[in-house]
């Protein structure tokens, strides 16, 4: 049940009035049932998995709180870790590791019988396992109390707006919202509606239309010129932003309509000047999760520079692998780790220059453009079908960039058509440092802007229910 489908429209239209007329406890139960219906609509067998994960972490949480013996507490934490990471390993990575192992044996001349296991990847497993992991780790660290009410805990794990593609919520901010009486103000409704509206624009107008260009290049076996490869990669940068930020925006908007405040997941990530800023603005719920539960657990920056570099590398490598079971994601994680380390080195070696205001602004613009190229190189690795394809595309960009074809021209026009509105909106948000900035523009600008966005959604949107990219993670 995708957010941009009729099924979801009907589902939400039935749910919302029922939710509004109910009291708090009943609201929570309704939401829990709705969340299981939502999740089961993909495949009812997935429900068993999420229930299992919920029960184990609920018991672990309570057991950890009830013990004062630190070794026992640690042991319980390990059970939760093994359970959650074990589920991920089986459902997400098992096939990948078996395939890679077989490939390695084949490369050294051993003819191994391939082991075929068709394991279906449950939608959103990476998201809710990380969410429940944060819960047990926080209890272990004495940062939160264990949740006593099983049904409320189950709702924390399965809350449908963010269940399958985040934002990855934290128990310390979300469970109190489940427990509290909800008051839904007009501002909540306005904000929620705007976030859903803008998210839909990002998804159906930007992402799904750009998918045509991206797929044509990245799924093609034929020759690709440098300009085509470069423009398709730029298109992917906006496709993945539109797709994922669009999903997050709709998710946050839907939750807001029901009185919940989810964490911001994207903050104009293409207006940043360096990799570390990028990770503070892109998929914030994941990057902050990795920082709090992996980077800091590894020691963070407390053990000297080399130690910090190692931790950065490891964090990003695992972050890359979180995105998917493929060598391209491992390489992408390695690449992200490398540019973070290089940027840290650069900051230490090159002193911050003193500029006039104009020169300062110009330098910022140049840095944004350079950083965007680095980001796009990352996206190429991320999107490529194989390591070979990365080398083919990079070669064509560096050796054949000036060949301009009718396809390049089509790509460029499409890019301008679909991306300029997003860039303008993102720029306004960036300048005002406010994701709701467009909705707060003066009346004479806001009304035409909103009408154009609505017209673009209706007239140019792709409603053929293309899946959200991050569902596969």
């Amino acid at each position: 049940m995708l957010f941009n489908s009729f099924e979801f429209l009907v589902f939400f239209a039935l749910l919302l009035p029922l939710y509004y007329v109910s009291g708090k406890t009943l609201q929570n139960r309704i939401l829990l049932i709705a969340s299981y219906i939502f999740y089961g609509s993909w495949d009812w067998r997935f429900l068993g998995l999420i229930l299992f994960s919920t029960v184990v972490d609920y018991i672990c949480g309570k057991a950890m709180e009830e013990t004062s013996v630190s070794t026992r507490k640690k042991r319980i934490l390990y059970i939760s870790l093994v359970n959650n990471l074990g589920l991920l390993a089986i459902f997400k990575y098992f096939g990948f590791f078996v395939d890679s192992f077989m490939q390695m044996l084949e490369n050294i001349g051993i003819d191994a019988n391939p082991m075929v296991l068709n394991i279906v990847l449950p939608v959103g497993i990476s998201f809710y396992t990380f969410q429940t992991l944060s819960y047990t780790i926080d209890i272990y660290r004495n940062e939160i109390k264990a949740e006593r009410n099983f049904w409320d805990f189950a709702l924390f794990v399965s809350f449908f707006p963010q269940l399958v593609a985040g934002p990855i919520e934290r128990a310390k901010s979300f469970i109190p919202q489940i427990k509290a009486k909800r008051t839904i103000s007009w501002l909540d409704i306005q904000t929620g509606a705007w976030l859903i509206f803008f998210g839909l624009f990002l998804k159906v107008f930007v992402a799904d239309n750009l998918a045509v260009i991206v797929d044509h290049t990245y799924k093609s076996d034929g020759p690709v010129t440098g300009s085509e490869a470069l423009l398709a990669t730029y298109a992917f940068a906006f496709q993945i932003f539109g797709d994922f930020a669009g999903y997050s925006s709709i998710a946050i908007g839907i939750a807001r309509l029901m009185g919940f405040h989810l964490m911001t997941n994207f903050l104009y990530p293409y207006f940043v000047t360096n990799p570390s800023q990028f990770w503070r603005n892109w998929h914030i719920s994941l990057s902050s999760w990795l920082r709090d539960y992996l980077y800091i657990s590894l020691g963070g920056n407390r053990g000297g520079e080399l130690f910090t570099y190692r931790n950065l590398f490891l964090t990003m490598l695992l972050g890359g692998l979180w995105h998917g079971a493929a060598w391209t994601f491992v390489l992408w994680g390695f690449y992200q780790g490398s540019i973070l380390v290089l940027h840290r080195l650069y900051r230490q070696l090159v002193p911050k220059p003193q500029h006039t205001k104009f020169a300062g602004n110009l330098w910022t613009l140049i840095k944004i453009i350079i950083m965007f190229q680095f980001t796009c190189l990352g996206w190429m690795i991320f999107r490529a079908q194989s390591l070979d394809q990365i080398s083919v595309l990079l070669t064509s960009i560096f050796t054949d960039l000036t060949t301009w074809t009718t396809l390049s021209s089509y790509y460029l026009k499409s890019l301008l058509f679909y991306c300029v509105p997003v860039l303008v909106i993102s720029y306004i948000q960036f300048k005002k440092q406010d994701l709701l900035a467009v909705a707060k523009l003066p009346y004479v600008i806001k009304i035409p802007a909103l009408t154009i966005i609505l017209f673009c959604i209706l007239s140019f949107g792709e409603f053929n229910t293309q899946e959200f990219i991050y569902f596969q993670f």
Partner: protein, 344 residues
């Protein structure tokens, strides 16, 4: 009607702008956006001039056959030339291939055709058909039309149904063996209130024409097939006619003819033909089933005239430009012989 809605919304907008009431303040943005959207709609969709432009500027190469025909029909709806007509021939592109030239040369005849038009579309486009004020309607039908599955995907771009939307829920509930029917009704309903969504293909078509190079689009879409491959593909599709569709299509056709009778419009059913190489034993069995249905229909509605295939000139492979459509000269001669039989 549209202008009165626009005027009403405009007055509402003025109220939200000048009233200090909290409800007015809350509704100011949505009502203003709605007013501007309706104004934009008036300019881009709600007048004959723009549809004339769309029809002129867009072609089937960009839009595809069905969408291109829909643009022509909407244009015709806004700028209808003939106020009434004696004979209106209704049907798929087969009808266009046979009757267009004949209708062009004959004042008393007009054609209402659309690529792939079947009984479902006849019901969906009935108001457009009645707008021609026909005295008689000629339906050129065969197992080719009745044994094909109804194209529910095309429902989204059908004209606004208004209160007939409630009738369509019955049509959809009868279509229990077609799993995309309910979804199609949902799209149609959404298009009813949001014509920008319904006619999105027009705007996408304009973008395709003026934004992208045709060569680039061709590189992306499939390469053109040869005439022979095209014919083979059509013959294969004709060999896959499914008798299971006859029942539902007959139900739709009866519904359509019932409405025509209510409007006192005479109905002629001319048994259609297709490429002789596709007359298989299976198709003849379906043909027999269609004839039984027509016989039963005539018992219920004796005013219907049925002209069987064998009373018309025999068509040979050379008369066809592909599997379904006659060549222009053959079509014109065939149309003339049909109207001879009708005593025109």
């Amino acid at each position: 009607m549209y202008l009165s809605v626009l005027a009403l919304v405009f007055i509402l907008m003025l109220w939200t702008l000048f009233s200090k009431k909290s409800l007015a303040l809350k509704l100011r943005t949505p009502i203003s956006v709605l007013t501007l959207l309706l104004t934009l709609r008036a300019g881009l969709l709600q007048n004959g001039f723009v549809w004339q432009q769309y029809d002129w500027r867009l072609d089937q190469d960009i839009l595809g056959w069905r969408n291109d025909d829909v643009v022509s029909l909407v244009e015709q709806h806004w700028n209808l030339q003939k106020p009434s007509v004696e004979y209106l021939v209704v049907g798929s592109s087969q009808v266009g291939a046979i009757f267009h030239q004949f209708a062009h040369d004959n004042e008393r005849v007009d054609v209402f055709n659309m690529a792939g038009m079947g009984p479902l579309e006849m019901n969906l486009y009935i108001e457009y058909i009645l707008q021609h004020k026909p005295k008689n309607i000629i339906l050129y039908l065969s197992e080719f039309d009745l044994a094909r599955p109804p194209n529910f995907n095309g429902m989204k771009i059908a004209p606004n149904q208004g209160t007939a939307l409630f009738d369509l829920t019955e049509v959809v509930s009868e279509a229990e063996s077609y799993n995309n029917a309910t979804n199609a009704l949902a799209h149609l309903t959404m298009g009813e209130v949001l014509p920008e969504y319904k006619y999105a293909f027009v705007f996408k078509g304009l973008k395709a024409k003026y934004f992208y190079e045709k060569e680039a689009l061709r590189k992306i879409t499939v390469s053109k097939t040869s005439n022979n491959q095209f014919l083979t593909r059509q013959l294969v599709s004709l060999s896959k006619l499914n008798a299971g569709n006859v029942q539902y299509n007959s139900y739709l056709l009866e519904k359509f003819i019932g409405r025509l009778s209510e409007e006192n419009i005479g109905v002629y059913i001319v048994e259609g033909s297709y490429h002789p190489e596709a007359y298989s034993a299976e198709n003849m069995l379906i043909n027999a089933r269609v004839r039984v249905w027509v016989d039963k229909l005539i018992v219920k509605q004796p005013a219907i005239t049925f002209i069987q295939r064998q009373h018309l000139p025999v068509l040979v492979a050379e008369d066809y430009k592909d599997g379904y459509h006659l060549k222009a000269e053959s079509g014109n001669a065939y149309a003339a012989s049909i109207f001879d039989l009708l005593g025109m």
